[in-house]
Symmetry: C2
Subunit: 349 residues, 2 copies
DNA sequence: GGCCAATTTGCAATCGATTGAATATTTTGT
DNA sequence: ACAAAATATTCAATCGATTGCAAATTGGCC
């Protein structure tokens, strides 16, 4: 602006890349520059303003790597998704994505950045240690236990700044935040039984303990009610799920009148396939999903589903992690699931 | 296992935290340890195995911060979402989440970690510089241009390792990967016109240039066809969207027979609201979404929508960024959108 | 003007791993 | 058995910012 004939690149005669460069330019020591940029009042107001102006003019910003190394505080939280029993695509699962979105919001608001990684425990057994002890992060959040409960348990014994989204087991060391999955499964099954279902089915792989818990909740209620229960495994990723469900349903649709699924995505696809096969939902088959993602209310008919408080969970995880970072011991949180009644279940008599 | 009476914590008599600790324990210098762990063949096989075994036994892993500082290679890609004109919740927008998911997959496969941050340009004008020059990342991916095209342009002139998801403008410096949004808007509008719509509307804020492009594509076709066009701004986040749409539709539903929306989420909500208001889709009002997210095929009726190749885009972004990191100049990629015909448009006569 | 205290600034060690150059050890050849 | 060559290892500088402590400057006061 001032001197339109001078390209801005050239005005920065020498590129200022380090504190030392800037110190030389300003004619002071690096210590002073460092303090000036940090806004310390150990440095004279005039000097500080001068240095800050110089820094701004040259677009200088201190190397974070060096800074973090020296201060031993990274301001980064590792967020890991273990893909134990599912395929890669899993990471784009809407549930995870929603949780990550809320975590990102919450962490950013607390001044943290988020180092996202995907772990494949089958290939790298030390997936969690690797992140916890990398020196890169102030704390770690694990999204989903998958089949890694014991592995996480081992790490949690030594590394305190760790919060896990998942199921709670009595006596565990890991600090979990999550829904009472057994209860969730039970409530769903009970609702189906209450509206007349006798031939129940559960859709989803039980390899991860969260899903296994949901299944066992269903199982408990089914046993009490003297109903029957079919377990049909299916993947979480939309690519694989549809073909599996199609096959399962083709073989079993007539021996099922109530379905609890491991996720809303499975429920949604199930509803569509059942309808395509000429059965009515909820007339012939009732379906209850899990999660209550936004999409659950948008399908036709809208899904009855077990709601998990994802946003609340994300907030709680970040809050607990912050406590842990400050050195406090932290306690798990088990949230109650809530049945959201929509259009894929019959009215109660 | 060997000595069940000794707790594993105790067996690690001293906790090995640094190379120096391990070096002392092994009776060699840190240099040798560093090389041994790196698997260098400058160190004798026997020594190397010994040191590696020792490291494994004590669960030692080198501090990444220090390593990255020294090597000047971080193995981290910054992924930023500028929330220019939208609210915080934006980050959990399913489109972004899907893109992030694919980016995470692709980056992880290429040995990179992903540092996710959310930027609020209105509060921090130097949001992008801050990340690019932080010394934390080897390269940066920006998801969505929002209203920051010019700001990004400035940064791109000086920082080459930058790839942007968004619209392409002739003569730009930034390397964009994205869909031809003008064309996308045009195709959608043309499809509506072809099946008889004359009173068109576009739903979405035009503050971001991508959405603005889609709008201008629609506008072009509408003008050619001599039809009318109503622009109804609405947010992307589900919280705000519904109320806005409800209001807009209440006022205008009868002067609209074809709608192009800025996203599938908007389209989905629109279809539901229009139906609730006693109009039929696509009978009275046809709707075309944008993105073709998985949810688009699951609604009732399933959405006709303009497909963006998100997975392909993510792959391309990572590939280009890798080239840039290796010092190559890189070229933008404009992908063709594709019309996916489903149930929210009338058959062509 | 001179002395003590308060304020600024500089110096140098530090965070922890990496790596080129120098030194030490082993191997090879005769 | 000895020199030369090949292999292993150590030493010390380096990445770039931070910070305790020491040194220098400034200010206040008699």
């Amino acid at each position: 602006m001032e001197r339109p004939d001078t390209p801005s690149e050239q005005r920065e005669s020498v590129h200022i890349r380090t504190l030392a460069d800037l110190a030389k330019l300003a004619g002071v020591s690096t210590g002073t520059v460092s303090r000036a940029l940090a806004g310390s009042d150990l440095v004279k107001t005039k000097t500080r303003d001068f240095i800050q102006a110089l820094a701004r003019e040259h677009g200088f910003r201190p190397n974070q790597m060096a800074s973090k190394l020296r201060t031993q505080r990274t301001g980064i939280i590792g967020v890991v998704i273990p893909l134990g029993h599912e395929l890669k695509q899993h990471i784009s699962d809407p549930f995870f994505m929603k949780l990550i979105g809320h975590l990102a919001d919450e962490l950013t608001e607390n001044g943290y950045d988020l180092l996202l990684s995907r772990a494949i425990p089958a290939e790298t057994p030390d997936w969690l240690d690797r992140i916890c002890w990398s020196g890169m992060v102030d704390g770690v959040i694990v999204i989903g236990q998958s089949d890694q409960f014991d592995a996480i348990e081992q790490v949690a014994k030594a590394y305190p700044k760790l919060v896990i989204w998942g199921s709670h087991r009595p006596g565990q060391h890991q600090c979990t935040v999550g829904t009472d999955n057994i209860e969730g499964g039970a409530i769903a099954a009970q609702r189906l039984v209450d509206s007349g279902a006798r031939k129940l089915a559960f859709f989803g792989y039980r390899t991860g303990i969260e899903i296994a818990d949901r299944f066992s909740g269903v199982q408990r209620v089914v046993k009490q009610a003297g109903a029957s229960l079919l377990h049909l495994p299916c993947h979480m990723s939309d690519q694989l799920m549809e073909a599996e469900l199609r096959e399962h349903l083709a073989a079993n649709v007539d021996s099922i009148d109530g379905i609890v699924t491991a996720s809303d995505l499975i429920a949604m696809t199930t509803v569509r396939l059942v309808t395509e096969m000429g059965r009515s939902v909820p007339g012939d088959v009732q379906v209850i999903g899990f999660d209550d993602l936004p999409l659950a209310s948008q399908t036709f008919p809208p899904l009855t589903t077990m709601r998990q408080d994802i946003e609340g969970g994300a907030k709680a995880m970040v809050a607990k992690l912050r406590e842990a970072i400050e050195g406090c011991g932290i306690e798990p949180l088990v949230m109650k699931p809530q049945l959201i009644e929509r259009g894929t279940t019959k009215a109660l008599s």
